[in-house]
């Protein structure tokens, strides 16, 4: 195996799992998420000499993922899966019914957000990125991240308030 492959292999072993999770929350479908990440890593491999020199290879690869998601989002006509059940996973411990319902509601609300707002939420609250890191990954200003976050959180809160009131 070449040095490049060894280095890239180590990189993707660490970044692929969180990338896969982010991809799932972006598209709401595990199979599509798998394809998204695979395509992202193929592009990352092609551009690895450049990516490895970047300030943050992780952020660079997330930018590729978001571009891939954006392209698919356009091609799929902005369809949003609805009434889906969590796939391939079971809670580690018995959960309360209302918790499951609430999280499912959160996923539906997340998928209904515009892609940029959804990406902002995922980077900030799943990946734990700062506003600055999020701005770098999205290719926008920190101010835009703040405004996108505020709008997205407002929408999520409204949606969750409605969900909770029906429980």
């Amino acid at each position: 195996m070449s040095d490049r492959d060894e280095e890239f292999g180590a990189f993707i072993r660490s970044c692929a799992p969180p990338l896969h999770q982010a991809a799932y929350l972006l598209c709401g479908d595990w199979h599509l998420a798998h394809d998204l990440v695979q395509d992202t890593l193929v592009k990352a491999y092609q551009h690895w000499p450049r990516i490895r020199r970047a300030d943050s290879p992780d952020a660079y690869v997330r930018a590729i993922l978001l571009n891939e998601a954006r392209g698919r989002w356009r091609r799929r006509g902005r369809t949003v899966p609805v009434a889906r059940f969590p796939e391939g996973r079971e809670p580690a411990v018995p959960d309360q019914t209302d918790e499951i319902t609430r999280r499912d509601g959160l996923l539906q609300a997340l998928l209904a957000l515009p892609l940029r707002q959804r990406a902002t939420i995922i980077l900030r609250y799943l990946e734990g990125m700062s506003e600055r890191e999020t701005a770098a990954a999205l290719g926008c200003s920190e101010g835009t991240v703040k405004s996108q976050s505020a709008r997205a959180l407002g929408t999520l809160r409204t949606f969750l308030d409605r969900t909770e009131s029906t429980l």
């Binding site: 070449s2 040095d3 490049r4 492959d5 890239f8 292999g9 993707i12 072993r13 692929a16 799992p17 990338l19 896969h20 999770q21 982010a22 799932y24 929350l25 595990w30 998420a33 798998h34 990440v37 695979q38 890593l41 193929v42 592009k43 491999y45 092609q46 551009h47 690895w48 000499p49 450049r50 990516i51 660079y60 930018a63 590729i64 571009n67 969590p86 796939e87 391939g88 996973r89 609430r102 999280r103 959160l106 996923l107 939420i121 995922i122 609250y125 799943l126 734990g128 290719g139 976050s149 505020a150 959180l153 407002g154 999520l156 809160r157 409204t158």
Partner: protein, 319 residues
């Protein structure tokens, strides 16, 4: 409603997102990624050529200058090389240097004169086998050799990148008027080979000649010349050929075409694409050096017949 930094609401949201995203494991397969990256590069170049060429190019037929390249040089015979030298020497006048330094004997020619002569020369490309030695600079750079038969549009490629060497044979044909591309690839890093076939989305008109070739077709070169905005940028000696250079602004960079000053066949094509530094794109410069080889039987076999190396195992194509 606000979610102050580290507020209970934010913490809850983070926990919920982690719960939602937990579960499915994902293990990346480096071998598949590497194979797909190679395949993607070839397809990208090929389909870019198709998009540029369009129906007119398909009707015109014939393959010409390469934008990508494999090599086949390993099996080249001494006789072929000698013959290649003879062909390469045709029209090389005043080849005082092989360094390519700008200079030579400037000739008072106009863009209109040069383009007319190049177009005329392109009408005879099917008398040759075209070898394109290509170097791509920038991230993920590679060096390839592509040998193409302009009459069949078949190509034999030797691909070199940081992960090693692979061989590929490309051919195109029609199935229910849908363009079909067959790619046979042998990978020396894994000692495996595969056959991959894919189809265009819909029916096409005309010939498949050059439709998915990774090299530019005569029609594409003519299209480049017809697009205008050309300037003559000088004379220099390239691989023993006295050449004239033309330059044209292109996308985010430029294209340069260096043609033999006697035969007016292309000797070098440079495609410079300076991508946006902020995006996940790469800056690349493709340098294609063309050699016009005689149509010997050994070369025809090399291009038009698949030869899987002994001991290689067939595997499924990368998905």
């Amino acid at each position: 409603m606000n979610f102050p930094t580290s507020s209970p609401e934010e913490t809850q949201l983070s926990d919920d997102l982690r719960q939602l995203a937990a579960g499915e494991a994902f293990t990346p397969d480096l071998a598949v990624i590497r194979q797909r990256a190679r395949q993607r590069r070839r397809r990208g170049l090929a389909l870019r050529g198709t998009a540029v060429a369009g129906v007119a190019a398909l009707a015109a037929g014939g393959v010409f200058v390469g934008v990508h390249g494999p090599g086949g040089t390993a099996g080249r015979t001494a006789a072929d090389k000698t013959a290649a030298s003879r062909v390469g020497a045709v029209g090389a006048r005043g080849a005082a240097s092989s360094t390519g330094a700008t200079g030579g004997a400037p000739t008072a020619v106009t863009v209109a004169y040069v383009t007319a002569r190049v177009k005329s020369a392109l009408g005879n490309v099917d008398k040759y086998i075209v070898q394109d030695d290509q170097v791509q600079t920038g991230p993920g750079g590679n060096s390839d050799v592509i040998v193409t038969d302009p009459r069949t549009s078949n190509a034999y490629e030797v691909l070199h990148d940081s992960s090693g060497e692979s061989l590929a044979w490309l051919s195109t044909y029609l199935v229910n008027r849908a363009l079909t591309w067959k790619d046979v690839e042998a990978d020396y890093s894994t000692h495996t080979w595969f056959v991959d076939v894919f189809h265009a989305a819909g029916p096409i008109q005309g010939s498949t000649a050059g439709a998915t070739s990774t090299v530019m077709t005569p029609a594409e070169i003519k299209g480049l010349l017809d697009a205008g905005r050309l300037t003559i940028i000088g004379h220099k000696v390239i691989d023993g050929h006295s050449t004239i250079g033309l330059r044209q602004p292109w996308a985010r960079g430029y294209r340069e075409l260096w043609v033999d000053s006697t035969t007016f066949l292309p000797v070098r094509l440079i495609t410079a694409d300076f991508a946006d530094q902020k995006g996940p794109l790469q800056n690349v410069m493709l340098i294609d050096n063309e050699t016009w080889l005689p149509r010997t039987q050994s070369l025809l076999d090399e291009v038009n017949r698949v030869h899987i190396p002994a001991g290689f195992t067939q595997v499924a194509p990368p998905q």
